[in-house]
Amino acid sequence: MASSHIYAKRRIKNIVAMVLSVAATAIGLIFLAWILWETLSQGIAAIKPQLFTKITAYREEGGLANAMVGSLILNTLGILIATPIGVMAGTWLSEYSLRSRLGPIIRFLNDILLSAPSIVLGLFAYTIIVLPMKWATNGDITFSGFAGGIALALIALPVIVRTTDEMLRLVPSTLREAALSLGVPQWKLTVQILIRSARSGIVTGVLLALARISGETAPLLFTAFGNNFMTFNPLDKMPSLPQVIYEYTKDPSPDINTLAWAGAFVLTMFVLLLSLTARFAFSRSKVSHD
Protein backbone atom coordinates (compact mmCIF):
# COMPACT_ATOMS: atom_id res chain seq x y z
CA MET A 1 0.00 0.00 0.00
CA ALA A 2 2.70 2.45 1.07
CA SER A 3 4.78 1.88 -2.05
CA SER A 4 1.84 2.42 -4.41
CA HIS A 5 1.25 5.70 -2.60
CA ILE A 6 4.82 6.77 -3.37
CA TYR A 7 4.42 5.76 -7.02
CA ALA A 8 1.25 7.78 -7.36
CA LYS A 9 2.94 10.81 -5.80
CA ARG A 10 5.92 10.56 -8.16
CA ARG A 11 3.67 10.11 -11.16
CA ILE A 12 1.56 13.13 -10.24
CA LYS A 13 4.69 15.22 -9.68
CA ASN A 14 5.98 14.18 -13.09
CA ILE A 15 2.68 14.96 -14.82
CA VAL A 16 2.51 18.38 -13.15
CA ALA A 17 6.06 19.17 -14.29
CA MET A 18 5.31 18.07 -17.85
CA VAL A 19 2.14 20.15 -17.97
CA LEU A 20 3.95 23.23 -16.62
CA SER A 21 6.73 22.76 -19.15
CA VAL A 22 4.26 22.58 -22.04
CA ALA A 23 2.50 25.63 -20.59
CA ALA A 24 5.79 27.56 -20.45
CA THR A 25 6.45 26.79 -24.11
CA ALA A 26 2.90 27.81 -24.95
CA ILE A 27 3.40 31.14 -23.11
CA GLY A 28 6.57 31.82 -25.10
CA LEU A 29 4.86 31.02 -28.39
CA ILE A 30 1.74 33.02 -27.50
CA PHE A 31 3.80 36.16 -26.85
CA LEU A 32 5.74 35.65 -30.09
CA ALA A 33 2.49 35.27 -32.01
CA TRP A 34 0.92 38.25 -30.19
CA ILE A 35 3.82 40.62 -30.94
CA LEU A 36 4.14 39.49 -34.56
CA TRP A 37 0.37 39.62 -35.07
CA GLU A 38 0.06 43.18 -33.77
CA THR A 39 3.03 44.33 -35.85
CA LEU A 40 1.64 42.67 -38.97
CA SER A 41 -2.00 43.71 -38.61
CA GLN A 42 -1.38 47.29 -37.43
CA GLY A 43 1.51 47.68 -39.87
CA ILE A 44 -0.20 46.35 -43.00
CA ALA A 45 -3.23 48.54 -42.29
CA ALA A 46 -0.90 51.57 -42.26
CA ILE A 47 1.08 50.73 -45.40
CA LYS A 48 0.52 53.21 -48.23
CA PRO A 49 2.61 54.21 -51.25
CA GLN A 50 3.61 57.61 -49.87
CA LEU A 51 5.40 55.79 -47.05
CA PHE A 52 8.19 55.07 -49.51
CA THR A 53 8.09 58.32 -51.49
CA LYS A 54 7.56 61.13 -48.96
CA ILE A 55 9.78 62.34 -46.15
CA THR A 56 9.03 62.83 -42.47
CA ALA A 57 8.96 66.63 -42.74
CA TYR A 58 5.33 66.39 -43.91
CA ARG A 59 4.36 64.67 -40.63
CA GLU A 60 0.90 63.06 -41.01
CA GLU A 61 0.85 63.70 -44.75
CA GLY A 62 4.36 62.37 -45.20
CA GLY A 63 6.11 59.05 -45.26
CA LEU A 64 9.31 57.48 -44.03
CA ALA A 65 11.43 57.65 -47.19
CA ASN A 66 14.25 59.69 -45.64
CA ALA A 67 14.35 57.41 -42.61
CA MET A 68 14.66 54.29 -44.78
CA VAL A 69 17.41 55.84 -46.88
CA GLY A 70 19.16 57.02 -43.71
CA SER A 71 18.94 53.53 -42.21
CA LEU A 72 20.42 52.02 -45.36
CA ILE A 73 23.33 54.48 -45.31
CA LEU A 74 23.97 54.04 -41.56
CA ASN A 75 23.83 50.24 -41.75
CA THR A 76 26.10 50.18 -44.79
CA LEU A 77 28.59 52.44 -43.02
CA GLY A 78 28.48 50.30 -39.90
CA ILE A 79 29.01 47.05 -41.83
CA LEU A 80 31.72 48.54 -44.07
CA ILE A 81 33.68 49.65 -41.01
CA ALA A 82 33.09 46.57 -38.87
CA THR A 83 33.57 43.82 -41.46
CA PRO A 84 37.28 44.23 -42.34
CA ILE A 85 38.26 44.92 -38.74
CA GLY A 86 36.09 42.11 -37.41
CA VAL A 87 37.29 39.54 -39.94
CA MET A 88 40.93 40.45 -39.30
CA ALA A 89 40.50 40.38 -35.53
CA GLY A 90 38.70 37.03 -35.74
CA THR A 91 41.48 35.68 -37.95
CA TRP A 92 44.09 36.78 -35.42
CA LEU A 93 42.18 35.04 -32.62
CA SER A 94 41.90 31.80 -34.54
CA GLU A 95 45.25 31.68 -36.38
CA TYR A 96 47.79 33.79 -34.52
CA SER A 97 46.84 33.83 -30.86
CA LEU A 98 47.74 30.21 -30.10
CA ARG A 99 50.93 31.05 -28.26
CA SER A 100 49.77 34.44 -27.01
CA ARG A 101 48.25 34.98 -23.60
CA LEU A 102 46.29 37.87 -25.06
CA GLY A 103 44.25 35.56 -27.31
CA PRO A 104 41.98 33.94 -24.70
CA ILE A 105 41.56 37.31 -22.96
CA ILE A 106 40.41 39.08 -26.12
CA ARG A 107 38.12 36.19 -27.05
CA PHE A 108 36.59 36.37 -23.58
CA LEU A 109 36.19 40.16 -23.65
CA ASN A 110 34.71 39.99 -27.14
CA ASP A 111 31.94 37.79 -25.75
CA ILE A 112 31.27 40.45 -23.12
CA LEU A 113 31.23 43.22 -25.74
CA LEU A 114 28.67 41.11 -27.60
CA SER A 115 26.08 41.70 -24.88
CA ALA A 116 27.26 45.07 -23.58
CA PRO A 117 24.51 47.73 -23.37
CA SER A 118 24.27 49.37 -26.79
CA ILE A 119 23.38 52.74 -25.27
CA VAL A 120 26.81 52.91 -23.58
CA LEU A 121 28.51 52.11 -26.90
CA GLY A 122 26.47 54.96 -28.38
CA LEU A 123 27.80 57.32 -25.70
CA PHE A 124 31.33 56.11 -26.49
CA ALA A 125 30.82 57.00 -30.17
CA TYR A 126 29.42 60.35 -29.04
CA THR A 127 32.56 61.05 -27.02
CA ILE A 128 35.10 60.01 -29.66
CA ILE A 129 33.35 61.32 -32.81
CA VAL A 130 30.62 63.87 -32.10
CA LEU A 131 32.47 65.94 -29.48
CA PRO A 132 35.85 66.20 -31.33
CA MET A 133 34.05 67.10 -34.59
CA LYS A 134 32.11 69.77 -32.77
CA TRP A 135 35.29 71.30 -31.39
CA ALA A 136 37.19 70.98 -34.65
CA THR A 137 34.50 72.66 -36.74
CA ASN A 138 33.37 75.23 -34.13
CA GLY A 139 29.99 73.57 -33.89
CA ASP A 140 29.23 73.38 -37.63
CA ILE A 141 29.23 69.60 -37.54
CA THR A 142 27.89 67.96 -34.41
CA PHE A 143 25.75 64.88 -34.81
CA SER A 144 26.45 63.03 -38.04
CA GLY A 145 25.67 59.90 -39.99
CA PHE A 146 29.35 59.04 -39.73
CA ALA A 147 29.16 59.02 -35.92
CA GLY A 148 26.07 56.81 -36.18
CA GLY A 149 27.95 54.45 -38.48
CA ILE A 150 30.78 54.19 -35.95
CA ALA A 151 28.30 53.45 -33.16
CA LEU A 152 26.69 50.70 -35.22
CA ALA A 153 30.12 49.33 -36.19
CA LEU A 154 30.96 48.99 -32.47
CA ILE A 155 27.86 46.83 -32.08
CA ALA A 156 28.47 44.76 -35.22
CA LEU A 157 32.18 44.19 -34.50
CA PRO A 158 31.93 41.50 -31.78
CA VAL A 159 29.36 39.52 -33.81
CA ILE A 160 31.70 39.39 -36.82
CA VAL A 161 34.79 38.67 -34.70
CA ARG A 162 33.08 35.77 -33.02
CA THR A 163 31.68 34.10 -36.14
CA THR A 164 34.96 34.53 -38.04
CA ASP A 165 36.89 33.01 -35.15
CA GLU A 166 34.46 30.09 -34.85
CA MET A 167 34.29 29.42 -38.57
CA LEU A 168 38.07 29.46 -39.03
CA ARG A 169 38.52 27.08 -36.14
CA LEU A 170 36.20 24.66 -37.94
CA VAL A 171 38.62 24.50 -40.87
CA PRO A 172 40.58 21.24 -40.47
CA SER A 173 44.24 21.72 -39.53
CA THR A 174 45.31 19.31 -42.29
CA LEU A 175 44.46 22.08 -44.75
CA ARG A 176 46.88 24.43 -42.98
CA GLU A 177 49.60 21.82 -42.71
CA ALA A 178 49.29 20.87 -46.37
CA ALA A 179 49.67 24.48 -47.48
CA LEU A 180 52.54 25.25 -45.10
CA SER A 181 54.43 22.14 -46.18
CA LEU A 182 54.32 23.44 -49.75
CA GLY A 183 56.06 26.58 -48.54
CA VAL A 184 53.07 28.93 -48.72
CA PRO A 185 53.62 31.94 -46.44
CA GLN A 186 51.14 32.27 -43.63
CA TRP A 187 49.45 35.41 -44.89
CA LYS A 188 48.80 33.76 -48.23
CA LEU A 189 47.50 30.64 -46.49
CA THR A 190 45.14 32.78 -44.40
CA VAL A 191 43.82 34.97 -47.19
CA GLN A 192 43.67 32.50 -50.05
CA ILE A 193 42.84 29.25 -48.31
CA LEU A 194 41.42 29.64 -44.81
CA ILE A 195 39.20 32.67 -45.30
CA ARG A 196 38.02 31.35 -48.64
CA SER A 197 37.02 28.00 -47.19
CA ALA A 198 35.21 29.65 -44.26
CA ARG A 199 33.65 32.32 -46.47
CA SER A 200 30.00 31.27 -46.23
CA GLY A 201 30.24 31.15 -42.44
CA ILE A 202 31.79 34.60 -42.33
CA VAL A 203 29.05 35.95 -44.62
CA THR A 204 26.49 34.50 -42.21
CA GLY A 205 28.17 36.41 -39.40
CA VAL A 206 28.06 39.66 -41.35
CA LEU A 207 24.36 39.15 -42.17
CA LEU A 208 23.58 38.44 -38.50
CA ALA A 209 25.49 41.56 -37.53
CA LEU A 210 23.49 43.55 -40.10
CA ALA A 211 20.24 42.15 -38.68
CA ARG A 212 21.39 43.14 -35.22
CA ILE A 213 22.32 46.74 -36.04
CA SER A 214 19.26 47.33 -38.25
CA GLY A 215 17.04 47.32 -35.18
CA GLU A 216 19.31 49.38 -32.93
CA THR A 217 17.78 52.63 -31.76
CA ALA A 218 19.45 53.77 -28.57
CA PRO A 219 23.00 54.41 -29.88
CA LEU A 220 21.67 56.43 -32.85
CA LEU A 221 19.74 58.94 -30.75
CA PHE A 222 22.85 60.94 -29.87
CA THR A 223 25.15 60.07 -32.75
CA ALA A 224 23.12 60.28 -35.99
CA PHE A 225 20.41 62.19 -34.08
CA GLY A 226 17.76 62.33 -36.80
CA ASN A 227 16.68 64.65 -39.59
CA ASN A 228 13.29 65.43 -41.10
CA PHE A 229 14.75 65.83 -44.56
CA MET A 230 16.39 63.52 -47.03
CA THR A 231 20.17 63.53 -46.75
CA PHE A 232 22.95 61.52 -48.35
CA ASN A 233 25.78 63.42 -46.68
CA PRO A 234 27.39 61.33 -43.93
CA LEU A 235 28.54 64.50 -42.16
CA ASP A 236 24.94 65.66 -41.84
CA LYS A 237 22.48 64.72 -39.12
CA MET A 238 20.86 61.57 -40.39
CA PRO A 239 17.45 59.98 -39.69
CA SER A 240 16.96 56.23 -39.33
CA LEU A 241 13.93 53.98 -39.26
CA PRO A 242 14.24 52.87 -35.61
CA GLN A 243 14.84 56.45 -34.45
CA VAL A 244 11.77 57.74 -36.34
CA ILE A 245 9.69 54.88 -34.93
CA TYR A 246 10.89 55.92 -31.47
CA GLU A 247 9.91 59.58 -32.01
CA TYR A 248 6.60 58.68 -33.66
CA THR A 249 5.66 56.25 -30.90
CA LYS A 250 6.15 58.97 -28.28
CA ASP A 251 4.02 61.37 -30.32
CA PRO A 252 0.53 62.09 -28.93
CA SER A 253 -1.11 62.14 -32.38
CA PRO A 254 -2.73 58.80 -33.36
CA ASP A 255 -2.04 59.45 -37.06
CA ILE A 256 1.66 59.71 -36.32
CA ASN A 257 1.45 56.53 -34.22
CA THR A 258 -0.04 54.76 -37.25
CA LEU A 259 3.02 55.77 -39.27
CA ALA A 260 5.17 54.34 -36.47
CA TRP A 261 3.37 51.00 -36.87
CA ALA A 262 4.01 51.06 -40.61
CA GLY A 263 7.71 51.69 -39.92
CA ALA A 264 7.72 48.90 -37.32
CA PHE A 265 6.25 46.52 -39.89
CA VAL A 266 8.88 47.38 -42.51
CA LEU A 267 11.70 47.13 -39.96
CA THR A 268 10.54 43.81 -38.50
CA MET A 269 10.09 42.24 -41.92
CA PHE A 270 13.55 43.41 -42.99
CA VAL A 271 15.26 42.12 -39.84
CA LEU A 272 13.44 38.79 -39.74
CA LEU A 273 13.99 38.08 -43.44
CA LEU A 274 17.66 38.94 -42.98
CA SER A 275 18.14 36.58 -40.06
CA LEU A 276 16.17 33.84 -41.81
CA THR A 277 18.38 34.25 -44.88
CA ALA A 278 21.47 34.11 -42.71
CA ARG A 279 20.25 30.99 -40.95
CA PHE A 280 18.99 28.94 -43.87
CA ALA A 281 20.76 30.03 -47.04
CA PHE A 282 24.17 29.83 -45.41
CA SER A 283 23.49 27.36 -42.63
CA ARG A 284 26.48 25.91 -40.89
CA SER A 285 26.05 22.53 -42.50
CA LYS A 286 27.02 24.15 -45.78
CA VAL A 287 30.48 25.01 -44.51
CA SER A 288 32.16 22.10 -46.23
CA HIS A 289 35.85 21.32 -46.22
CA ASP A 290 35.91 18.16 -48.25
Binding site: S21, P185, L221
Partner: protein, 342 residues
Protein backbone atom coordinates in the same frame (compact mmCIF):
# COMPACT_ATOMS: atom_id res chain seq x y z
CA UNK B 1 95.45 27.34 -46.76
CA UNK B 2 92.40 28.92 -45.38
CA UNK B 3 91.83 31.20 -48.28
CA UNK B 4 88.25 32.18 -48.31
CA UNK B 5 86.35 30.58 -51.10
CA UNK B 6 83.49 32.58 -52.37
CA UNK B 7 80.84 30.16 -53.51
CA UNK B 8 79.26 31.10 -56.74
CA UNK B 9 75.65 32.10 -55.91
CA UNK B 10 73.29 31.25 -58.66
CA UNK B 11 70.74 33.90 -59.62
CA UNK B 12 67.96 31.43 -58.80
CA UNK B 13 69.24 31.07 -55.24
CA UNK B 14 69.43 34.81 -54.87
CA UNK B 15 65.87 35.25 -56.06
CA UNK B 16 64.69 32.58 -53.63
CA UNK B 17 66.45 34.22 -50.70
CA UNK B 18 64.92 37.55 -51.63
CA UNK B 19 61.48 35.97 -51.87
CA UNK B 20 61.86 34.28 -48.51
CA UNK B 21 62.86 37.54 -46.91
CA UNK B 22 59.91 39.28 -48.52
CA UNK B 23 57.51 36.55 -47.37
CA UNK B 24 58.86 36.73 -43.84
CA UNK B 25 58.45 40.50 -43.79
CA UNK B 26 54.93 40.28 -45.22
CA UNK B 27 54.05 37.65 -42.65
CA UNK B 28 55.23 39.88 -39.84
CA UNK B 29 53.33 42.91 -41.14
CA UNK B 30 50.22 40.81 -41.71
CA UNK B 31 50.43 39.48 -38.17
CA UNK B 32 50.78 43.00 -36.75
CA UNK B 33 47.80 44.32 -38.69
CA UNK B 34 45.62 41.43 -37.52
CA UNK B 35 46.76 41.89 -33.94
CA UNK B 36 46.01 45.61 -34.11
CA UNK B 37 42.46 44.79 -35.19
CA UNK B 38 42.07 42.32 -32.33
CA UNK B 39 43.33 44.96 -29.93
CA UNK B 40 40.56 47.28 -31.18
CA UNK B 41 38.08 44.94 -29.46
CA UNK B 42 39.95 45.54 -26.22
CA UNK B 43 40.16 49.27 -26.98
CA UNK B 44 36.42 49.63 -27.52
CA UNK B 45 35.63 48.05 -24.15
CA UNK B 46 38.19 50.15 -22.31
CA UNK B 47 37.16 53.19 -24.35
CA UNK B 48 33.49 52.79 -23.47
CA UNK B 49 34.36 52.65 -19.77
CA UNK B 50 36.89 55.49 -19.96
CA UNK B 51 34.74 57.85 -22.02
CA UNK B 52 31.71 57.52 -19.75
CA UNK B 53 33.90 57.89 -16.66
CA UNK B 54 35.50 61.01 -18.18
CA UNK B 55 32.11 62.41 -19.21
CA UNK B 56 30.69 61.69 -15.77
CA UNK B 57 33.68 62.99 -13.81
CA UNK B 58 31.98 66.36 -13.27
CA UNK B 59 28.98 64.74 -11.64
CA UNK B 60 31.11 62.34 -9.58
CA UNK B 61 33.23 65.28 -8.33
CA UNK B 62 30.22 67.49 -7.56
CA UNK B 63 28.14 64.91 -5.72
CA UNK B 64 30.77 62.41 -4.52
CA UNK B 65 29.43 59.21 -3.03
CA UNK B 66 26.15 61.01 -2.45
CA UNK B 67 25.44 60.52 -6.15
CA UNK B 68 24.77 56.85 -5.47
CA UNK B 69 22.43 57.38 -2.53
CA UNK B 70 20.53 60.50 -3.50
CA UNK B 71 17.04 60.14 -4.96
CA UNK B 72 17.02 63.66 -6.39
CA UNK B 73 16.74 64.20 -10.13
CA UNK B 74 16.13 67.89 -10.54
CA UNK B 75 17.56 69.46 -13.73
CA UNK B 76 16.10 72.84 -12.71
CA UNK B 77 18.29 73.07 -9.61
CA UNK B 78 21.17 70.96 -10.94
CA UNK B 79 20.74 68.28 -8.30
CA UNK B 80 21.18 64.71 -9.48
CA UNK B 81 21.31 61.32 -7.78
CA UNK B 82 21.44 57.83 -9.18
CA UNK B 83 19.23 56.04 -6.67
CA UNK B 84 15.91 56.07 -8.56
CA UNK B 85 17.28 55.05 -11.99
CA UNK B 86 19.57 52.43 -10.46
CA UNK B 87 16.74 50.97 -8.43
CA UNK B 88 14.44 50.99 -11.46
CA UNK B 89 17.06 49.17 -13.51
CA UNK B 90 17.69 46.54 -10.85
CA UNK B 91 14.04 45.97 -9.91
CA UNK B 92 12.82 45.64 -13.52
CA UNK B 93 15.68 43.24 -14.30
CA UNK B 94 14.91 41.13 -11.22
CA UNK B 95 11.19 40.98 -12.06
CA UNK B 96 12.21 39.94 -15.59
CA UNK B 97 14.40 37.15 -14.20
CA UNK B 98 11.69 35.95 -11.79
CA UNK B 99 9.34 35.50 -14.74
CA UNK B 100 11.80 34.47 -17.46
CA UNK B 101 13.87 31.85 -15.61
CA UNK B 102 11.05 29.38 -14.83
CA UNK B 103 9.50 29.86 -18.28
CA UNK B 104 12.87 29.39 -20.01
CA UNK B 105 13.52 26.28 -17.92
CA UNK B 106 10.12 24.92 -18.97
CA UNK B 107 10.86 25.63 -22.63
CA UNK B 108 14.30 23.99 -22.44
CA UNK B 109 12.78 20.98 -20.66
CA UNK B 110 10.09 20.74 -23.33
CA UNK B 111 12.60 20.98 -26.17
CA UNK B 112 15.06 18.43 -24.79
CA UNK B 113 12.91 15.83 -23.03
CA UNK B 114 9.23 16.11 -23.83
CA UNK B 115 8.60 17.27 -27.37
CA UNK B 116 8.55 14.70 -30.18
CA UNK B 117 11.61 15.20 -32.35
CA UNK B 118 9.67 16.61 -35.32
CA UNK B 119 8.40 19.43 -33.12
CA UNK B 120 11.76 20.44 -31.59
CA UNK B 121 13.21 22.22 -34.60
CA UNK B 122 10.22 24.42 -35.41
CA UNK B 123 9.51 25.36 -31.78
CA UNK B 124 13.10 26.27 -30.98
CA UNK B 125 13.34 28.32 -34.21
CA UNK B 126 10.15 30.12 -33.23
CA UNK B 127 11.45 30.93 -29.74
CA UNK B 128 14.70 32.18 -31.25
CA UNK B 129 12.68 34.38 -33.58
CA UNK B 130 11.69 36.32 -30.44
CA UNK B 131 15.36 37.23 -30.02
CA UNK B 132 15.46 38.59 -33.56
CA UNK B 133 12.66 41.12 -33.11
CA UNK B 134 14.16 44.61 -32.65
CA UNK B 135 13.78 45.98 -29.13
CA UNK B 136 11.98 49.11 -30.36
CA UNK B 137 9.16 46.79 -31.52
CA UNK B 138 8.89 45.37 -27.99
CA UNK B 139 8.69 48.96 -26.75
CA UNK B 140 5.87 49.87 -29.14
CA UNK B 141 3.97 46.69 -28.46
CA UNK B 142 4.48 47.29 -24.74
CA UNK B 143 3.13 50.85 -24.92
CA UNK B 144 0.19 50.41 -27.29
CA UNK B 145 -0.90 46.83 -26.62
CA UNK B 146 0.54 45.35 -23.44
CA UNK B 147 0.30 48.33 -21.05
CA UNK B 148 -3.46 48.76 -21.72
CA UNK B 149 -3.83 44.99 -21.26
CA UNK B 150 -2.05 45.21 -17.90
CA UNK B 151 -4.22 48.17 -16.89
CA UNK B 152 -7.39 46.29 -17.76
CA UNK B 153 -6.68 42.74 -16.60
CA UNK B 154 -3.60 42.38 -14.42
CA UNK B 155 -3.26 45.54 -12.36
CA UNK B 156 -6.84 45.68 -10.99
CA UNK B 157 -6.55 42.08 -9.86
CA UNK B 158 -3.17 42.71 -8.19
CA UNK B 159 -4.50 45.83 -6.47
CA UNK B 160 -7.66 44.08 -5.28
CA UNK B 161 -5.54 41.32 -3.80
CA UNK B 162 -2.48 43.12 -2.46
CA UNK B 163 -3.10 46.85 -2.07
CA UNK B 164 -4.69 48.84 0.76
CA UNK B 165 -6.64 51.02 -1.69
CA UNK B 166 -8.21 48.44 -4.02
CA UNK B 167 -10.47 49.60 -6.86
CA UNK B 168 -13.29 47.33 -5.64
CA UNK B 169 -13.10 48.85 -2.15
CA UNK B 170 -12.69 45.57 -0.27
CA UNK B 171 -9.39 45.26 1.55
CA UNK B 172 -8.29 41.66 1.21
CA UNK B 173 -7.51 39.29 4.06
CA UNK B 174 -3.87 39.21 2.97
CA UNK B 175 -3.42 42.98 3.26
CA UNK B 176 -5.14 43.05 6.65
CA UNK B 177 -2.76 40.45 8.05
CA UNK B 178 0.55 41.17 6.28
CA UNK B 179 1.23 44.81 7.08
CA UNK B 180 4.02 45.74 4.63
CA UNK B 181 2.76 44.01 1.50
CA UNK B 182 0.51 46.88 0.41
CA UNK B 183 3.54 49.15 0.06
CA UNK B 184 4.76 47.12 -2.93
CA UNK B 185 1.42 47.20 -4.73
CA UNK B 186 0.10 50.70 -4.20
CA UNK B 187 -0.63 52.95 -7.14
CA UNK B 188 -2.14 56.39 -7.50
CA UNK B 189 -3.44 55.57 -10.97
CA UNK B 190 -5.14 52.14 -10.93
CA UNK B 191 -6.07 52.38 -14.62
CA UNK B 192 -2.64 53.38 -15.93
CA UNK B 193 -0.74 50.42 -17.39
CA UNK B 194 2.82 51.70 -17.51
CA UNK B 195 5.01 50.93 -14.53
CA UNK B 196 7.85 48.90 -13.09
CA UNK B 197 5.98 45.58 -13.24
CA UNK B 198 4.90 46.10 -16.87
CA UNK B 199 8.48 46.96 -17.87
CA UNK B 200 9.75 43.86 -16.06
CA UNK B 201 7.25 41.69 -17.91
CA UNK B 202 8.24 43.10 -21.33
CA UNK B 203 11.90 42.54 -20.44
CA UNK B 204 11.07 38.97 -19.41
CA UNK B 205 9.66 38.22 -22.86
CA UNK B 206 12.80 39.73 -24.41
CA UNK B 207 15.27 37.62 -22.44
CA UNK B 208 13.38 34.30 -22.56
CA UNK B 209 14.98 33.28 -25.90
CA UNK B 210 18.49 34.03 -24.59
CA UNK B 211 18.12 32.04 -21.37
CA UNK B 212 16.16 29.18 -22.91
CA UNK B 213 18.58 28.66 -25.79
CA UNK B 214 21.55 28.48 -23.40
CA UNK B 215 19.65 26.03 -21.19
CA UNK B 216 18.62 23.89 -24.14
CA UNK B 217 22.15 23.77 -25.48
CA UNK B 218 23.70 22.77 -22.17
CA UNK B 219 20.96 20.24 -21.42
CA UNK B 220 21.92 18.54 -24.67
CA UNK B 221 25.52 18.15 -23.47
CA UNK B 222 24.50 15.79 -20.67
CA UNK B 223 25.81 12.33 -21.60
CA UNK B 224 22.98 10.06 -22.71
CA UNK B 225 24.27 7.16 -20.62
CA UNK B 226 23.87 9.20 -17.44
CA UNK B 227 20.24 9.93 -18.24
CA UNK B 228 19.53 6.42 -19.44
CA UNK B 229 21.06 4.93 -16.30
CA UNK B 230 18.62 6.98 -14.29
CA UNK B 231 15.71 5.96 -16.51
CA UNK B 232 16.79 2.33 -16.20
CA UNK B 233 16.58 2.63 -12.41
CA UNK B 234 12.98 3.75 -12.83
CA UNK B 235 13.25 7.54 -12.64
CA UNK B 236 10.51 9.68 -14.11
CA UNK B 237 11.34 12.35 -16.68
CA UNK B 238 11.08 15.05 -14.02
CA UNK B 239 13.42 13.18 -11.68
CA UNK B 240 15.99 12.77 -14.46
CA UNK B 241 15.86 16.49 -15.21
CA UNK B 242 15.88 17.63 -11.59
CA UNK B 243 18.38 15.12 -10.17
CA UNK B 244 20.66 14.39 -13.14
CA UNK B 245 20.49 17.07 -15.84
CA UNK B 246 20.27 20.15 -13.63
CA UNK B 247 23.11 19.26 -11.21
CA UNK B 248 25.30 18.27 -14.18
CA UNK B 249 24.75 21.61 -15.94
CA UNK B 250 24.37 23.85 -12.90
CA UNK B 251 27.15 26.34 -13.58
CA UNK B 252 26.21 26.83 -17.23
CA UNK B 253 22.55 27.29 -16.31
CA UNK B 254 23.55 30.01 -13.85
CA UNK B 255 25.72 31.47 -16.62
CA UNK B 256 22.72 31.57 -18.94
CA UNK B 257 20.64 33.30 -16.28
CA UNK B 258 23.34 35.93 -15.77
CA UNK B 259 23.54 36.42 -19.53
CA UNK B 260 19.83 37.19 -19.50
CA UNK B 261 20.32 39.51 -16.51
CA UNK B 262 23.03 41.39 -18.41
CA UNK B 263 20.66 41.87 -21.31
CA UNK B 264 17.84 43.01 -19.08
CA UNK B 265 20.00 45.57 -17.24
CA UNK B 266 21.22 47.25 -20.41
CA UNK B 267 18.00 47.19 -22.41
CA UNK B 268 16.81 50.65 -23.42
CA UNK B 269 14.00 50.77 -25.92
CA UNK B 270 11.80 48.00 -24.57
CA UNK B 271 11.45 49.82 -21.24
CA UNK B 272 11.68 53.45 -22.37
CA UNK B 273 7.95 53.63 -23.11
CA UNK B 274 6.44 51.39 -20.44
CA UNK B 275 8.38 52.55 -17.40
CA UNK B 276 6.80 56.02 -17.21
CA UNK B 277 10.06 57.96 -16.67
CA UNK B 278 9.24 59.49 -13.31
CA UNK B 279 11.78 60.14 -10.58
CA UNK B 280 9.79 59.60 -7.42
CA UNK B 281 11.31 57.11 -5.02
CA UNK B 282 8.79 54.36 -4.31
CA UNK B 283 8.95 50.67 -3.39
CA UNK B 284 5.75 49.92 -5.31
CA UNK B 285 6.12 47.84 -8.48
CA UNK B 286 2.81 49.18 -9.78
CA UNK B 287 4.08 52.76 -9.80
CA UNK B 288 5.98 54.34 -12.65
CA UNK B 289 9.74 54.70 -12.41
CA UNK B 290 12.81 55.07 -14.59
CA UNK B 291 15.86 53.04 -15.50
CA UNK B 292 19.40 54.15 -16.28
CA UNK B 293 19.12 53.38 -19.98
CA UNK B 294 15.67 54.93 -20.43
CA UNK B 295 16.78 58.09 -18.58
CA UNK B 296 19.78 58.49 -20.88
CA UNK B 297 17.70 57.85 -24.01
CA UNK B 298 15.08 60.39 -22.92
CA UNK B 299 17.28 63.19 -21.66
CA UNK B 300 20.73 63.05 -23.23
CA UNK B 301 19.70 64.82 -26.45
CA UNK B 302 18.65 68.01 -24.66
CA UNK B 303 20.94 67.80 -21.65
CA UNK B 304 23.61 70.40 -20.96
CA UNK B 305 26.37 70.84 -18.40
CA UNK B 306 25.94 68.99 -15.14
CA UNK B 307 22.88 67.05 -16.32
CA UNK B 308 24.83 65.64 -19.27
CA UNK B 309 27.64 64.70 -16.91
CA UNK B 310 25.19 63.02 -14.53
CA UNK B 311 23.79 60.98 -17.43
CA UNK B 312 27.33 59.95 -18.43
CA UNK B 313 27.97 58.96 -14.82
CA UNK B 314 24.81 56.83 -14.91
CA UNK B 315 26.08 55.18 -18.10
CA UNK B 316 29.39 54.41 -16.37
CA UNK B 317 27.56 52.76 -13.47
CA UNK B 318 25.47 50.73 -15.93
CA UNK B 319 28.56 49.65 -17.85
CA UNK B 320 30.42 48.55 -14.73
CA UNK B 321 27.45 46.60 -13.39
CA UNK B 322 26.69 44.84 -16.69
CA UNK B 323 30.39 44.13 -17.18
CA UNK B 324 30.54 42.34 -13.83
CA UNK B 325 27.30 40.43 -14.50
CA UNK B 326 28.46 39.36 -17.97
CA UNK B 327 31.90 38.44 -16.59
CA UNK B 328 30.26 36.06 -14.12
CA UNK B 329 28.03 34.71 -16.91
CA UNK B 330 30.94 33.96 -19.23
CA UNK B 331 33.07 32.42 -16.47
CA UNK B 332 30.18 30.13 -15.52
CA UNK B 333 29.61 29.17 -19.15
CA UNK B 334 33.31 28.55 -19.72
CA UNK B 335 33.42 25.93 -16.98
CA UNK B 336 31.00 23.88 -19.00
CA UNK B 337 33.10 24.30 -22.12
CA UNK B 338 36.12 22.96 -20.23
CA UNK B 339 34.23 19.91 -19.07
CA UNK B 340 32.97 19.22 -22.57
CA UNK B 341 36.52 19.13 -23.83
CA UNK B 342 37.69 16.63 -21.27
Amino acid sequence: MHASISLPVSPARQAEAARNARDARNDRVFGWVLKACALLVLASLIGAAASTLWGGSDAFRTFGWGFLTSDAWDPGNDRFGALVPVMGTVVTALIALLIAVPISFGIALFLTEIAPSWLRGPVSSAIELLAGIPSIIYGMWGLFIFAPFVAEHIKPWLMNTFSDAPPDGQISWLVQHVPWIAKFFSSDYPFFGAGVLTAGMVLAIMIIPFISSVMREVFQTVPTRLKESAYALGSSTWEVVWDIVLPYTRSAVIGGVFLGLGRALGETMAVAFVLGNTFKFTPSILETGSSIASTIANQFGEAEGLQKSALMALAFLLFVVTFIVLLIARLMLRQLGNREGR
